[in-house]
Symmetry: C2
Subunit: 198 residues, 2 copies
């Protein structure tokens, strides 16, 4: 029976799923042609139709991570400090899906630090994410909901805080259950809010 | 000429140095018997006298990371908020040596997340580090230099902030030079200090 375009698309989705499951379980350190083939129940020979080299597989995995992150559902929130809070909550590993995704992001840092090209690409991604946060913070300041101060600097601080909280929560889930993560985030935000009469 | 105990110790130090240089350049993802042997200018055969398996090599590298971290020079500071600030500054990649060490720590997270035993060990290490920070914070509160509040919670927030700042600074060194890192840390600490008349 001849293969149809539908078969091809379905197989591509299966390959993506298999790559994702390997990443979520073993990180980039465990991402090999053999592991993806095993997850897919296929031969490594078949995999070479999709990825000629290990580097192709890593590049595909990083792209998949970015697409999955871009496509994830996001909280909606009004403008001001609620929008800043929603954007930061969207990053935290508060659900199983967000935990998998963050586990892959943390793993990608090692990969990025080992490769100048990937490192530069990661630096650009995080800079874009800080810029978005800066704009939300500037808007909250205009509304009088956040204290004045350089919004880029406040964004860099908030991004650092949230990335570090991701690391802690992944390494020690029992000590950082979702409600604890939210509590710590709210502490960070509370410090940015004008004190009454201050 | 017979090998002396001194030769053996010197060779062990050479092996440690070679493992460290491979880790600092390539992370745990690039830590192989072959890479260490090449760095040492030796055969992989020689390496198997030191590490029987790849897992032995990884365990050795994690132990080396911990010993190097414990042995690094630390800032001295009086009690109170100065001691909290010094402990947090000690973590940041403000020197080449601290940058190498942090690069290896970030890489170790992927390794730890892929292995439940190593993961539990990492969780204990970070919990101990939070406990030390909590005690310094409690002392600063007793001196009236930090606002009241659960010191364990403030310590968890400060640790998250510093770990995330490490990640940012490693991925984008030009955007996070040492003076910028210190500025952001001081913003975080300023939010914990009682406001005059507050």
């Amino acid at each position: 029976m001849p293969r149809t375009k539908g078969d091809h698309e379905a197989r591509r989705r299966d390959v993506s799923e298999a790559v994702w499951r390997v990443l979520a379980a073993h990180g980039f350190g465990g991402l090999t042609m053999r592991a993806v083939a095993a997850e897919l129940g296929a031969t490594t020979g078949l995999l070479t139709h999709y990825f000629r080299t290990k580097r192709d597989l890593v590049a595909y995995a990083l792209d998949l991570l970015e697409r999955r992150t871009a496509a994830r559902p996001r909280r909606t929130a009004g403008p001001g400090v609620s929008a800043v809070r929603a954007a930061l909550l969207d990053i935290l590993p508060l659900t199983d899906e967000a935990t998998d995704s963050n586990r892959v992001w943390v793993s990608s840092w090692d990969t990025a630090l080992a490769d100048p090209e990937l490192g530069a690409d990661h630096a650009r991604k995080y800079a874009r994410s800080r810029d978005k946060l800066r704009d939300l913070i500037a808007e909250a300041q205009r509304l009088g909901e956040l204290s004045p101060g350089d919004p880029a600097r406040i964004a860099a601080g908030a991004q650092a805080f949230v990335l570090g909280l991701v690391v802690q929560a992944l390494l020690d889930a029992p000590a950082f259950p979702p409600h604890r993560q939210v509590e710590l985030l709210d502490d960070h935000l509370a410090a940015l809010v004008p004190t009454p009469g201050g």
